[in-house]
């Protein structure tokens, strides 16, 4: 990820909240999918056991990640593939760009992959005159619109049919287009089919890499991924190191958890698994690029490491009341929503102001944890990261940071609360202090920090008698 500072969630959320079309599109889409998910999860009698199995498998894998990665490397090589190791985005981009250049092509077809977005691969390829063509329908929409994905699984969730029709008419020269989903898909199909048949290089991400067998897998809904992983001569797969699973049979658990959580389907439509290369069948050159890019740093944090268990189903996005209202772009990361709010700050580091704002982009309602198929306790990690943000502020913050009303207030209240006498004194001061603002037991306008409350809500005023004063009186 780039070292440039990204804007904070707080700064930009308002503009997304004001976008009525976006609110409608995302609200409708997330409500629909979460209703469906609930249905297909409730019909599974062993769902909780499956979640626990998923969590346990991932935890075990992370505990021995080094061993499994070396085993994966060996298995892939044995099956005829080549394995590359990339420390960071720059290194991964260099490896992939060089591999594509070796094939002397100007175009590569891509399977939907957030990991390639994480490293900014399309840009890196473009800088060398190579066009990376997104073939997932939604990714294609986003690419044609020169937009950014706003959802892990449904990158164009923020766009509706009418917007897509207008885009295709302009960019795909499809004059006679209606906004029926079938027609829109057909227009994309006609455009993409030619590209697939001429492609020499395919680029993909990976959902799973099996250490035991060297099998790599992509799970998708449209079949474009299958085209990309079978038609070109050369296939390059970028895989985050956390995507390794120990054994083939482990997939039994994840292949049940993933589709129900992601698209609310009982079984995923296109599941591609390949093991190295096979003579005269499919790609003859297979390269697996294993990416760290901050992941080992996440692994080192005892509390934070559960973030790496994520299988990118995006169920947490679909149930998140914050995501539902702001959409994905407010997170300024390829990983939006609750999982993004814990993954992005850990990958990017808290030096980035935008990333450091993300752990606060949550009301800690816990809906994400409830649906997570591998039981990542997202609220717990959010709070843990908030602790790190504040620890950092205390250590390295400027004088201005330390004079922020919240920072000062927290310090004062901590002291007041640790002693009952001081606490009672603070209650009295607050009651006297509110005098100017309270009317009929309510406050409708306050200055400074608390104006953020009173600009939209009235605030209950402190009544004349606290509970403890009442109790004292009652005792007498």
């Amino acid at each position: 990820m780039s070292k440039q500072q990204t804007p904070t969630f707080q700064e930009t959320a308002a503009s997304y909240l004001d976008d009525t079309q976006l609110r409608r599109n995302i609200g409708h889409a997330t409500q629909t999918i979460r209703g469906k998910r609930k249905g297909v999860v409730q019909e599974m009698p062993d769902w909780e056991a499956l979640r626990e199995a998923g969590r346990a498998l991932k935890t075990k894998t992370m505990r021995h990640l080094d061993d499994y990665l070396l085993q994966l490397e060996e298995s892939v090589q044995e099956a005829g593939g080549t394995v590359h190791w990339a420390r960071d985005a720059e290194e991964a981009n260099r490896i992939i760009v060089d591999l594509v250049k070796q094939e002397q092509v100007k175009e590569a077809v891509k399977v939907k992959s957030i990991t390639t977005d994480e490293i900014g691969l399309n840009k890196a390829l473009a800088a060398e005159g190579i066009q990376a063509l997104e073939t997932d329908l939604a990714e294609l929409i986003v690419q044609l619109a020169e937009d950014e994905p706003s959802h892990i699984l449904v990158p164009a969730i923020h766009k509706n049919r009418a917007e897509i029709k207008a885009l295709f008419k302009e960019k795909l020269d499809a004059d006679e287009l209606t906004d029926r989903p079938e027609d829109l898909a057909e227009a994309a199909r006609l455009y993409l089919r030619k590209k697939f048949l001429n492609a020499k290089v395919g680029i993909s991400g990976a959902n799973f890499g099996v250490a035991e067998t060297g099998t790599v897998s992509v799970v998708e809904s449209e079949g474009n991924g299958r085209m990309c992983t079978t038609l070109p001569d050369t296939l390059i797969t970028l895989m985050g190191i956390e995507k390794v699973v120990p054994k083939w049979k482990d997939l039994e658990v994840f292949m049940q958890l993933l589709p129900r959580s992601a698209t609310a389907e009982r079984m995923n439509p296109y599941n591609s698994f390949w093991t190295g290369t096979t003579e005269n069948d499919g790609p003859q050159n297979f390269h697996l690029v294993l990416l760290d890019n901050g992941r080992t740093k996440v692994l080192a944090d005892e509390m934070g490491r559960q973030t790496l268990n994520c299988i990118r189903c995006s169920a947490c996005l679909n149930v998140c009341p914050v995501y539902e209202r702001t959409g994905g772009h407010a997170y300024h990361s390829v990983y939006p929503g609750p999982i993004g709010a814990i993954l992005t700050p850990q990958l990017k580091g808290l030096e980035d102001e935008g990333a450091a704002s993300l752990p606060y982009a949550s009301s800690l309602c816990g809906a994400c944890y409830e649906v997570c198929p591998v039981k990542i306790n997202i609220p717990e990690v959010l709070v843990h990261l908030r602790g790190k943000v504040i620890d950092k502020k205390k250590k390295e913050g400027s004088l201005r940071d330390k004079l922020e009303p919240e920072h000062v207030g927290m310090k004062i209240l901590s002291r007041a609360f640790s002693n009952a006498k001081r606490y009672e004194r603070a209650q009295k001061i607050a009651r006297t202090g509110q005098g100017l603002f309270a009317r009929d037991g309510m406050i409708s306008s306050l200055p400074g920090y608390l104006s953020k409350w009173t600009s939209t809500r009235d605030l209950k005023a402190i009544p004349d008698q606290t509970f403890r004063e009442w109790w004292r009186q009652r005792d007498e």
Binding site: L413, S414, W453, F467
Partner: protein, 246 residues
């Protein structure tokens, strides 16, 4: 039973009537209650905002105040959630095994009011009378952290005269979220707007919940809009009787 009240700083200062109501209900059921004056705050606001070092003295204080209690009962699901979910982590952060042990020892004796009444005392009818149309908002921490289930609803269903109506999309967060309500005020209010829309669709006079913090947010929004719906803590409804109505 001898019940130690943990009123919480929030209710002590802003909502004393909720504390008084809890006293009334527990005494009506024949229990004796005590209020240890040394209590202050559970530390949730500090902990959840990231001021975790500052939480340590508050956890020590809580444990010290309540360590010998037979049962500690609080009219706040989120404060009890803080105690039950995060106190062990605070003790770990303090690197104090003695504190960790004291926390482990105390936790099973700390209860949220509705859970205490229904699950511990096995009481669903507390003899309340409240002739109003009421809708119940299950707060996130009561629902997903403490898992109080339908304990508050069981209690409400047994209130005489009540007209209890179901809240659409009840399990969605109201947008309070502690300092989130100020830090991310725009998003918080967008969430509140939908909650209020759902509350108003029920035609209720009163919206109730197991947490005054969420109710302060919802109630503050309703009051600003002159919405004609009041936010009232569950304990106050349970305390109300025909002789002494709320």
């Amino acid at each position: 039973m001898n019940i130690s009240l943990f009123i919480t700083c929030f209710n002590d200062t802003l909502y004393p009537n909720t504390g008084k109501a809890m006293v009334k209900v527990l005494e009506r059921l024949g229990h004796s209650v005590i209020f240890p004056f040394e209590q202050t705050c559970c530390g949730q606001m500090h902990y959840n905002t990231g001021y975790q070092e500052e939480t340590i003295p508050l956890v020590r204080k809580f444990v010290d105040v309540f360590k010998d209690a037979e049962a500690v009962v609080a009219p706040s699901a989120s404060c009890v959630g803080m105690v039950k979910e995060f106190y062990p982590q605070v003790a770990q952060r303090a690197q104090d095994p003695q504190l960790a042990k004291a926390v482990d020892d105390l936790l099973p004796r700390v209860f949220e009011l509705s859970q205490f009444l229904v699950d511990e005392l096995g009481v669903e009818d507390v003899g309340a009378y409240y002739p109003h149309r009421v809708t119940y908002h299950p707060t996130c921490h009561s629902l997903r952290m403490l898992e109080v289930g339908d304990a508050p609803l069981r209690l409400l269903r047994n209130v005489e005269g009540i007209d209890l109506v179901e809240l659409p999309d009840a399990e969605e967060c109201c947008g309070f979220g502690g300092t989130f309500a100020v830090k991310n005020a725009d998003t918080s209010v967008a969430m509140m707007g939908d909650k209020i829309k759902n509350i108003k669709s029920t035609d209720a006079e009163v919206c109730t919940a197991a947490d005054n913090s969420c109710l302060m947010h919802i109630g503050g929004g309703l009051h600003r809009q002159r919405g004609g719906v009041e936010a009232v803590h569950l304990a106050e409804i349970l305390a109300s009787t025909e002789e002494q109505p709320l």
